[in-house]
Structure formats: structure tokens, C-alpha cells
């Protein structure tokens, strides 16, 4: 009943809006055209391999529903500006879950459970639904997820020599870092990468209440422990530099995203993927963030085109879509049932992500996280690059985080 009421309200609003549009000459897209066909626009920032799979799957809705996948380079900022404007906003967007909190607070997102029965989401991995939820409401239909992976060049590091603990990794780095080659490299002073070490110590950047944890004892211990590894890596932590070091054979191992694998394989490298080393001091593996990629529905679209929106979501819920994405682009499906398929379980990258995901931490999706990337980045630079005192730097960063979060309010 509640849903129907919403639809009615939406329909009324839409009629009013359409009337207004006609009067003012604005060009808001009609819900359906003269032939009863609807267009659904989905913004995304994905590579062609992913969108091709989605386009192929969604083509089954033609001609009744025409789905347009539109790549936007500045998707998140544009949505902030036009998310409430049905003339300019898309109907849905495909993106990582970490911006859900911002848009939910802005009131531009529709809960997925307004469109689909909640029990149908039971088919998804728990941590993907956890990531897709903000303040107890599911705002994203998960499609696939990503974690960082421990990868190594088999020319230098045999499968038997892969470090299973961080102390083994440190000993390996000490032995192999010489002459311009590195035993291990990572973007050590980039928060997304350093978070794996911090999480593994029980620290965090931001808790689920939006409180920063940069000067927690666990976070400071992680920074101190991580520093000895940083000292055996190049000072530069920029994405291209670290990836090039690995790709060009100047580093034996790295922690990087799955997106690096096709590139290094193309270069002829026999790349191995292994579980994250266990941190000796805590007994927990390095625990990177997990990013869940999925579909968010804008409130305007849910109200104006509920049937078309539901049909699109139902296509994207099919196992075949998850399986095709795994095969096309190494995406780890969010639906449990996809892992019953051999084509998925045979994929080394996908299965490595599934294993890593067991200890991975869903990236916080609270609006406060927006300020934490910059503040944490400064803290990491102070500790890793400038050699500043950890406690003083962490206290300063924590205070700055609180100040910026307060400003957001």
C-alpha cells in the first residue's frame, strides 16, 4: 500500500511536472513515448568490457524499455549537482557503494526494497548487502565487488616462496631489495591501500557511526609497524609509478587492484595471486577495503518509472550477468549462486577476491568518509614520507578530521 501511494504521488508529481514542462518549454524526458516505450538512462564510470556485458543483457528489454548506458567522467560530483533534477539526472547509476551515504542524505536515492522484495536480496553475499546499506536501508543492488590482491611475478618469486605472514614478507624484502629492484611495493601512503594494514590491526579510518579513528592505539600501532615495510619501498607512492615498477619487472610483488592483472599479463608476466599475508602481531591478514559495484536508483526514476526500473533491476539480478562479468572482466559476482558455476570457480582472480573478501572491510559509505581520504593521506605522508612522530601526527589528523566533519554539518 505504501508503495502504491508513493507511485500515485509520484505520478501526480510527474503529471504536474510534465504540464509545467510543456508550459515552460523544458525538455524533461517523458516516462513513456507515444508507443508506450520507456527509456532508462544509467550513468557509469566502467570499462567497455563491463558495459558490453550489461548492454547485451539489457537488450532483451527492447523495444519496450530502451536502456542507455552513459559514461560520465565526473559522475559523483555531477550527481551532487543534478541528482534532484529529473531533467538532468539519470534514472540510475552504476558505481561503488561508498557514495551511498552522501546521496541518501541528499534524498536523491530510492531504497532498493521499495522496488524489490527484501527477501530477494538474501541471494547476495552478506558483506555486499552490508556495504549497500546505509542506516539500515539498502540503497544499492550489488552486482560485483573488488578487493585489492597480493600478486607476484613468478619469474622472481616461486609459489613456494610466497610469504604467508608479514614477517616473512619483510625478510623477503630485506633480501631482495637491492640494485634498483624491490621485493615488494605498494601505494603505501595512499589511504585506500594503507587501510588494509590499519584494518588488520583492528584500527579504522572511520567507524560505522562516522567517528574517525586515526589516533586509536590500534591505528597508531599499524602505522608504526607498516613503516618498516615502507622504508624498503620507493618514496614515490603514485599509482602509475608503483604499477609500472611491478609491470616492468622491477618489483617482485605488490598489492594492487584486479584491474592491473590484464595489463601485466599482456606484458608477458606470469603473475601469481596469493592470499594476503597474515600480520604476525595480530594474527589477522592484511584486510583491504572492499568496494561493491552496483546499481543505485534515483528517487525520481523510482517514482516516475517504477515498472521499467524494476525490469532493469531484474535483468541485472540474473546469474548470467554476474557470470559473464566474471569471464569478461574478472569481476567477482555479488550473488552467491554464481559461484556454483565452473566458469567462475575456475577463474583465479575472481576466487582470490572471494577469499580476500572474507577478511575485507566494506569501504565506509558514510558522508563523513569524503573528508577522511584527504586527512588520512596527509597523515600517511607525514609518517611515511616526512618521518614525523606518529602520535603527534595521528592526533593532529584526528583533530582535523573532526573539524572537517563538523564543517560538513
Amino acid at each position: 500500500m505504501k508503495g502504491k501511494g508513493k507511485i500515485k504521488t509520484g505520478a501526480m508529481g510527474m503529471i504536474a511536472c510534465l504540464t509545467l514542462s510543456t508550459l515552460t518549454g523544458c525538455s524533461m524526458q517523458p516516462v513513456v513515448d507515444e508507443e508506450g516505450e520507456a527509456t532508462i538512462t544509467i550513468w557509469h564510470d566502467k570499462e567497455d568490457a563491463v558495459t558490453q556485458v550489461l548492454e547485451d543483457a539489457l537488450s532483451e528489454l527492447e523495444p519496450e524499455i530502451h536502456v542507455v548506458l552513459e559514461k560520465k567522467s565526473d559522475l559523483t560530483e555531477t550527481l551532487k549537482m543534478v541528482g534532484n533534477d529529473p531533467k538532468a539526472a539519470p534514472d540510475m547509476y552504476l558505481f561503488a557503494h561508498d557514495k551511498i551515504g552522501v546521496y541518501a542524505e541528499m534524498g536523491i536515492l530510492a531504497p532498493v526494497t521499495d522496488i524489490l522484495p527484501a527477501q530477494e536480496l538474501d541471494a547476495y553475499m552478506d558483506n555486499t548487502i552490508e556495504a549497500a546499506s546505509y542506516k539500515g536501508t539498502v540503497y544499492q543492488l550489488p552486482i560485483y565487488y573488488e578487493t585489492l590482491l597480493f600478486m607476484y611475478n613468478r619469474r622472481y618469486m616461486s609459489d613456494e616462496k610466497v610469504p604467508t605472514t608479514t614477517e616473512e614478507l619483510y625478510a623477503y624484502m630485506q633480501e631482495k631489495t637491492k640494485g634498483g629492484h624491490y621485493g615488494f611495493v605498494e601505494q603505501h601512503s595512499t589511504p585506500y591501500y594503507a587501510a588494509g594494514w590499519i584494518n588488520g590491526f583492528g584500527g579504522y579510518l572511520l567507524d560505522d557511526q562516522g567517528v574517525p579513528g586515526l589516533n586509536l592505539p590500534e591505528t597508531e600501532k599499524a602505522l608504526a609497524y607498516h613503516k618498516k615495510f615502507v622504508d624498503l619501498m620507493p618514496g614515490e607512492t603514485e599509482y602509475a609509478t608503483v604499477n609500472t615498477l611491478f609491470k616492468e619487472g622491477m618489483a617482485h610483488a605488490t598489492i594492487a587492484g584486479p584491474w592491473l592483472i590484464p595489463t601485466v599479463r599482456e606484458s608477458g608476466m606470469d603473475v601469481g595471486i596469493a592470499p594476503m599475508p597474515v600480520i604476525d602481531e595480530t594474527g589477522t591478514p592484511i584486510s583491504p577495503y572492499m568496494g561493491v559495484q552496483g546499481i543505485q536508483v534515483l528517487k525520481n526514476a523510482a517514482e516516475r518509472k517504477p515498472e521499467a526500473v524494476e525490469k532493469v533491476l531484474r535483468v541485472l539480478m540474473k546469474d548470467e550477468v554476474g557470470i559473464e562479468l566474471a569471464m569478461a572482466s574478472g569481476c567477482a559476482p555479488a550473488k552467491e549462486s554464481c559461484y556454483e558455476q565452473e566458469s567462475v570457480t575456475d577463474d583465479e582472480v575472481v576466487m582470490a577476491m572471494k577469499e580476500t573478501a572474507e577478511n575485507a572491510v566494506p569501504m565506509p559509505n558514510l558522508p563523513e568518509m569524503d573528508v577522511m581520504w584527504t586527512v588520512t593521506g596527509t597523515l600517511l605522508t607525514d609518517v611515511n614520507m616526512s618521518g614525523k612522530d606518529i602520535t603527534e601526527s595521528a592526533d593532529k589528523a584526528e583533530a582535523e578530521a573532526f573539524r572537517l566533519i563538523e564543517n560538513m554539518k
Binding site: K176, G179, S386
Partner: protein, 400 residues
Amino acid sequence: MDKYLKKIGIFLTVLLMLTGLCSMAVMAAPDTDRNAFYVQIPSDWKNPCVWAWDSDGNNAFEAWPGEEMEADPENEGWYYIWLPSFANHVIVSANDGNVQTEEQILDTNAAWMTIKAADEVEVTYEKQTTGEAPAYTEKFTIHAKVDDGWKAPCLWAWSAPDGTNAFEAWPGKAMKKGEDGWYTAKAPVFVNSVIINGNEGSVQTEDISIDPAEIWITVEADGAYDFSYADPDKAAIPDITVHVATPSDWESPCLWAWSAPDGTNVFASWPGEALEEGENGWLQKTVPGWINSVIVNGNEGSVQTTDISVESGKDIWLVVNGAEDYSLSYEEPELTAETETPEADTDEGKATEAVKTDTTENTEQTEKKSSPAGPIAAVVIVVAAGAGIGIAAKKKKAGN
């Protein structure tokens, strides 16, 4: 503060190394399809090497004279090499490049070539040897600079801890001295330990644990050593910018650059990379500072300058008026209306007034120093024009 400076130092070193790496020509990947190519050589030809490429100018190897062939233990007098299957243009050379065949264009490089003399070559695609060629093993290069007291240095290499040796007997593989003073030898990629020795093995380093990647090892008289995975001679030179003004009818001008005499190319394939819009009317391209030779070309490589020798490590301003008419400067000259790129009309062949190079002398000088890059570039152009291979062969000989 010291630590911070150290980090900056490391950062700059890494940047230099990466810049060098990124700008080096990309050769055939290890998993490329390969064919065994066999050659039988005259009795007075020693240590045959193969230089190979395809009609698009993609080289199989980084530098002339290419890769040394291996004697086939099952077939006396025959040498073999595993070539990337795309490389069907070959030149076989021997005696440190002092003798060579003309360019041979093969249907496939799964071929048997009998060389009776430099200009008498027979190729067949019917098997001329017995058994199969030893399996392909990827190799990497080890460079060593040894004390003058160490004569005829050799490389001994093995895999630890299993102890598999790369070479049959001590003192191992004789290292070949290059014009840059470094001795060089190759070892299979299973190797992770080496010893450099000299004087028939009577002097040596201790065991050196290495990665199977191109490496430069410096050895002192007492056997003490240091090593780097980046060429110490090249890593020390910062990138340079080549500024160019070309004739207005040269469409999409590109730069081809290399280091002579070792022939290390900056770009993977001819005609190189497009020059970009720079300031003050110049086109420009940033390249590694170790290059000492360039060619500017246009119209997809169908027009080009001759080989132009330049000083390593210095920015260059090059006004090109025609294939053999250019002026080179190491300080920015003012572009005249006649030379300005791309609108300028350079038909009258006027060069910048700031610095004028004696083109004739420069051309002669560079012809003498010609590396494979020049001939290969020429070969591509000639092939494209369907005009045969004579120019390539002629230039190659000039280079020797």
C-alpha cells in the same frame, strides 16, 4: 631531514629508472609464438647473430646485431635461434658484425638458410636438420665491467638452491666486450646466481645472488662487486626535449631516436612517435637523455631526414628544410616565417639564422655511425614503396 632527502633521492632515482624503462623499445613478449630458424655458415664465419624484424618495422631484438645463435649439438655446422614468428625479415651477421648477408625476406622464419658467402644465400622451408631444436628458453643479459687486470672475463651462472648450471663447464660463457666498455653475456631465466671470473677462472667474484633480469655488475680488482638493474651510464642522464620545425608539406611529423653504436631504440617501431605541439611554433618530444641519434620523418615515414647525430643529454632545436637540409642547435633559435611549423613554407630551404650546421659534413659523419635504426627505417620505407631492399643493405654496410 636526512631521511627526507634520502627519500627524495630514491624517488628521483626511481623516476629516472622508470623513465628509461618506459621509453625503451618494447620487444617481443616472452610468450610470443616462435619458430626455430636455422643457419649454416661458411667456415670463416664465427659467432653468427640474427637481426630480425617485420614489414611494419617491429624489431625482434633491442639492438644490432641482434641475438647470437646457438650451435645445434645434433647437427654439426648448423646454428639455430628461436625467432618471434612475426619477424620474417632477417640479416645474419658474424665475426662481430664484420660480415653479413643482405636482408632476406622469408615466407616464414621456420626456415633453413645456407650461407655460402655474404652475397650467396639459399633459403628452404624443408627441414635440413635431424631431430628437434632444443626447447626455447628465455634469456636475460648480464653486463659486467671488470678491472683491467681481468682478461677474457667469463660468466658462470646457476640456479640456487637446486644447483642447475647454465653452462657446461667452468669458467662458463665468454663475455663479449662492447664499444661502451661493458662485457656482455646471456643466461637463461632460471638462473638466480652468477660469478664473474677472469684470467681463465683464476680470479673471480663470490657468488652473486641476482634476479633474472638485465643487470650491470661492476667488479673491482679484488673481486668486490656492485650491481644495478638499470644501466648506470644511462640512468645518470636526464631526459631531453627535441624541438623540431618541419617543412609544411610534412604531414604528422614523427621522431625516431636511438643510441649509436649500440642501436638501442627509444620507440618500438618506425616511424617512431608523433611530435607534439610545443611553444614558440616548435613541435617537440621528450626522449631519454642517452640518445645520440635522431631522424625526423613525416607523411607516415615516407619522407625523412638522414641520420642526425646529436650530443647526449642536451635539449635540441632542429630546423628541417628537407631530407638532407637541416640545422641543429643546442639553444633555441628564433624561428623565421619560412621555417615555422606547421604553417611555414620551407620550400626555399632557409634555415634558422641562429645556428647553421654543415649539413654535408654532418651527413657524412652520421652515415659512418649509422646504426640498424637507420637501415631498418629505410627498409620500411623502401618496402612500402615496393622499391626493393638495396638502400637498406647499402646503408647497413656504410654503418660497418
